[in-house]
Amino acid sequence: MGASTANFRAPGGIHPAYHKDLAAEQPIAEMPLPAMLVVSMSQHLGKPAEPTVKKGDTVLRGQVIGEAAGFISAAVHAPTSGTVKLVAAVATAAGPRATAITIVPDGEDTWVEGITPCPGWQTLDKKAIAEKIAAAGITGMGGAGFPTHVKVSPPPEAEIDTLILNGAECEPYLTADYRLMIEHAARIWEGALIIAKALEATTIRVAIEDNKPQAIAAMQDAIPAEAKDAQVVVLKTEYPQGAEKQQIFAITGREVPCGGLPLNVGIVVENVGTTLAVWEAVVNGLPLTERVTTVTGGPIATPGNVKARLGTSYADLVEFCGGTSGTISKIISGGPMMGFAQPDLACGTTKTTSGLLLLGPDAVQAYESMPCISCGRCVGVCPMKLMPNELSQFLEAEDYETAEAYNVMDCIECGCCAFECPAHRPLVQHMRRGKAQVMLIRRKQAS
């Protein structure tokens, strides 16, 4: 099936150095079981899961160890068989603490009973598909971690016509989705058909940036010629083309309304990794217990794309990639633009850990923030057409009301403004804090 280029161009955007060559040509390597797994109950957006095991219990791979706490939540499964050593609160990659279950693997890796493969998924109705996805605990694997079963069961009044598979991977350094598309294109395509069936969507688009020709070719080959209204759409390489709202605009020209969701314009966007997890969950009946993480950056001896069990500590990932050489100046969980800086390598991987990036002193510069010089560059690069210059000054003055009126809540925290600012102002950091404060004020007013 042929490919087309995107018809529209989202506003703003930047061109950071990509450094994808470090890990792009490394095939996905399966990591052996580490000595210990620390499985967080907060691997998704929404309420953390409720632990269902206690210290001393033996668990089997795929067994539910954390139950979804409400609709916007996701179940957590044991990544391998073994013994529960500890149930305690530990710091997550994003900072706040959440309950985590420490499992010592027994090395057998025995699957739990009751795994039911369903190769004939075509006979399932949309409710059954959503249930299978919920049971497998799948969340968005691009970074935000929105529970997938919520996305595939839109309210009845929303008419979804298009499913977009997000393979843009616009974050510098990261290549996990790229490798998945090259190595598992056919499965991703079948996963897309499953999600499209659940959504009753008739149009499928696979969005890939034009710096990934191999992935484009692989996905094109995977889409059969008789497939109706399915196509690879080649996006211009630009950050943040992988952001949902920008991608929807680039492909369809539709604009998600202020404060709205893609389903308001009849679209659902799923990451390619999530789509593969859906395929595993529905066709093979397997819950989400592992993911591919790009381990990369200057100090890493052999950067690569590692398939590791959820809860594998960052230190174990680094060791699997040959350890480090030289000084490490920064550790980032995720990509360099939107990832979370880490104090150490103690954290464990979650369903959203797309990358682990170590930067040496040559790649890290500390800047002194200076007053705004009103050049307007941040306004030019903002993909949400906001005014970060004005907003940051309102937020510095703690004027949250005005910031809200200037739509601070529409900020997607992509970091383009801070990247571009010649005065090195921490613009996106102001936005993040501002958004949290506005949410607090809104919650207070509601109660």
Binding site: A91, G95, R97, A341, A366, Q429, H430, R432, R433
Partner: protein, 262 residues
Amino acid sequence: MTPILTTALTIGGAGLACGGLLALAAKFLAVKEDPRIEEINGILPGANCGGCGYAGCAAYAEAVLLKGAPINLCAPGGAEVLGHLADITGETAKVAEHKVAVVLCGGDVSHAPRKFDYNGVADCRAAHATGGGDKSCSFGCLGYASCSHACPVGAIEMVNGIAKVHRDLCISCGSCIRTCPRHLIKMVPYARTIHVMCSSKDKGPAVKKACKVGCIGCTICTKLAENESIKMAGFLAVVDYEKDLDSDAVIEKCPGKCIVRI
């Protein structure tokens, strides 16, 4: 008539007419305001601290007369302001207990090191949102002075990387309490001088690892303190400020050295 005379008469006439209208409006459309509001506003300290729960001194003055707000809410004004307010309104109320803010963390730079170099926005709330804050202890004072900036009277000083309240300057408005992302600041009676300077809910070993002057939850102080004036809340000793506590033993025997007299 010369043009200059025409202009002068027109402008002058319009001015007179408008002036007359304004004079009439001032007389007939006047909003009658209780003169006591202005009087009370003059008595209040004028710090606009918001400690009374109203938007500022003027709003509180109005609330006292029109909404029946209690007259003893102005903590900075104390007994003097209360006396004036009682004279004006004819109401009586007890002087509210003199309270001062205290930052319940003693882990300064020499006791609790930094986990990483933070170079974001110099604000505690921003630092707290970045990887849980750069302080080794995830409950302790971050030291980016958000409370100090919020204090209307400059009563909070940053000493060795942690916030210290000057008790005699504090007007107990509570602005700092609302700012601290770690909820370390408590309003306590002025007479109570012994505090557990730690807010870590972690277990002993974790506290010890993070800070040299943390509460390790040994419970020794709860046994020494008279009439249960120190109680355990999980792994943390907490002073019950309702009860008297004046024992030097608790200070001396605390193995974490976190109970101090201020």
